[in-house]
């Protein structure tokens, strides 16, 4: 007798647990406002990334085409992957002194892991992390970027 009682108890418990599970899925089937889908390419217009999101390294320039990079190469040392290469040149200042200035700030996006170490190590806050994350390209070569604009100058007062 105890066997039979157990038998039917098992069946009852089984059906109950299965129906409990179906209740959950049934709830979501009938509550469509719970849908969490991100319609990514469609919501591009409204999509805002968090301001700290690390998408790529960029070098902000002001309206006078000036940047803050002194060419100290701290970021190049800080980068674990060697994705930053700074080529410097000697520039003649108006007062006659020769000073080291950046020629090109080469940034290999394809090597970058967005670890933020370069930005943290920069003493003059010349580089920051940009929020753009759509980096796919057809030609790998275009991932090698030069961050300083052509003919850009060092901002006054930054040493």
């Amino acid at each position: 007798m105890a066997f039979l009682v157990n038998y039917f108890k098992t069946i009852y418990k089984t059906l109950k647990s299965l129906l409990t599970g179906m209740k959950v899925t049934g709830y979501y089937f009938t509550h469509l406002r719970e849908i969490h889908t991100e319609e990514y390419p469609d919501n591009r217009a409204t999509l805002t990334m968090f301001d700290r999101f690390r998408g790529e390294v960029i070098m902000p320039h002001n309206t006078d085409n000036e940047h803050r990079c002194t060419g100290c190469q701290a970021c190049e040392i800080a980068c674990p992957n060697g994705s930053i290469k700074i080529i410097t040149k000697q520039e003649l200042l108006p007062d006659g002194k020769k000073k080291k200035r950046i020629d090109t700030f080469v940034y290999h996006l394809d090597l970058c892991t967005m670890c933020n170490l370069c930005v943290v190590s920069c003493p003059s806050d010349a580089i920051v992390m940009g929020q753009n994350f759509e980096h796919s390209v057809y030609d790998k070569k275009t991932l090698k970027k030069i961050l300083n604009n052509p003919d850009s100058k060092l901002m006054a007062g930054v040493e």
């Binding site: 299965l18 599970g21 209740k23 899925t25 969490h36 999101f53 690390r54 674990p80 170490l117």
Partner: protein, 374 residues
């Protein structure tokens, strides 16, 4: 026609060998298991690893002490924070400094959030491996919110690299506390749903109860750690035994179970999620003001010697063994990864069960393959 070569199906000894992986849906990565079968019953398992070896340890010898931390995010990518924290703690230990109180609190909160996110993913994947697709999406809904916190504060979702020797990289985002509280409320409201759809489901119970039994002795002798070992009754929570960061300032229970089977491992993880929520709740309103980072030198040089630091990742004990020769680069780094040890017990506990059980066992051991190979 070449015909059906029977050796392909069965070896000369009449053995049926099934190669599960390197590409297989339930190995969660490139793990290759060579399985000897008798019908559907597993006679023997031989894990073949190394498909995703990236020599993170060797690579770190070339990098400075500040730089090598980022690579550990790629080991156990579901617990990147905790891996990073382990490295940062090792360096702090060698430098004989401590992170600022604020950094300690934030580290602990972030680690527990990572643990929550990792357990969420594990919960979803366990359902997926057992054939229930839907829980995966419910798990990802909560995980997504945690990832948003990570993204807002750390700047990245998975490989955050937010830990630096002496503290955290930047201060927390102003929204951090509110968002964290919101997600905690959300998760607390979903416990019942998780139980309804998975834990209480009779099919799930039958699939996991009594399957993949791991005895306490075996767990110790194989070096199994983490929830897998705690489900066998081995008390091994580093957060309790060897508190780091702010774990000595919070009240929480080490979840132990004597079941040893898949269901016990499942329950231990489910309860750990509740503990993580409670830990974060204790800390989130009490983050002390102050610096988020202890001042360290630009180029860190560790004193000559050997240093070892261990932390509790969602999968077990991660140990960082660091040998310094006094220069700016580590002389040798060795990671004692939890997954490697946990994998080693798989052949012992899966023997005699069915193929379907193997999937359940792998799911509840919660293997992350890149952490095995490093």
């Amino acid at each position: 026609m070449r015909g059906l070569i029977e050796e392909n199906i069965i070896t000369e000894d009449g053995e049926f060998i099934l190669n599960i992986g390197p590409q297989h849906p339930s190995t969660h990565g490139v793990l290759h298991l060579k399985v000897w079968l008798d019908g559907e019953t597993i006679k023997k398992i031989e894990p073949h690893i190394g498909y995703i070896h990236r020599s993170i340890e060797k690579m770190s010898e070339r990098l400075s002490y500040r730089n090598f931390i980022f690579a550990t995010s790629r080991m156990d990518y579901l617990a990147a924070h905790i891996n990073n924290e382990a490295c940062a703690l090792t360096i702090e230990k060698a430098l004989q400094i401590e992170a600022t109180p604020r950094a300690k609190f934030v580290r602990t909160i972030l680690s527990e959030l990572t643990r929550l996110a990792s357990h969420q993913l594990w919960w979803g994947c366990t359902g997926l491996d057992l054939g229930a697709v839907t829980p995966f999406f419910y798990a990802f809904r909560e995980r997504e919110a945690i990832m948003a916190i990570m993204e807002e504060t750390c700047g990245a979702r998975l490989t955050q690299n937010f830990m630096v020797p002496g503290g955290i990289m930047t201060d927390i985002h102003p929204n951090f506390q509110q968002r964290t509280k919101d997600i905690l409320e959300q998760i607390k409201g979903k416990y019942k749903e998780y139980d309804d759809i998975m834990s209480g489901n009779v099919i799930f119970e039958n699939r996991t109860k009594g399957v993949g039994y791991l005895s306490k002795e075996d767990a110790i002798s194989f070096g199994v750690t983490g929830p897998t070992a705690r489900a066998s009754g081995v008390s091994c929570d580093i957060r309790k035994w060897n508190p780091y960061s702010a774990y000595d300032q919070v009240e929480f229970d080490e979840i132990l179970s004597n079941g040893g089977d898949c269901y016990a491992r499942y329950q231990v993880r489910m309860k750990e999620m509740r503990q993580s929520v409670s830990i974060i709740e204790q800390l989130i309103d009490n983050i002390p003001e102050g610096d988020f980072q202890e001042k360290t030198k630009m180029v860190i040089k560790l004193p000559k010697g050997e240093y070892y630091q261990r932390v509790e990742t969602p999968r077990g004990e991660l140990g960082v063994y660091l040998v310094s020769d006094g220069s700016a680069n580590p002389y040798r780094i060795k990671y004692r990864s939890p997954n490697f040890s946990n994998l080693s017990v798989l052949p012992a506990i899966a023997k005699g069960y069915k193929i379907g059980d193997l999937v359940a066992i792998m799911a509840t051991i919660d293997l992350v393959i890149p952490d095995i190979d490093r």
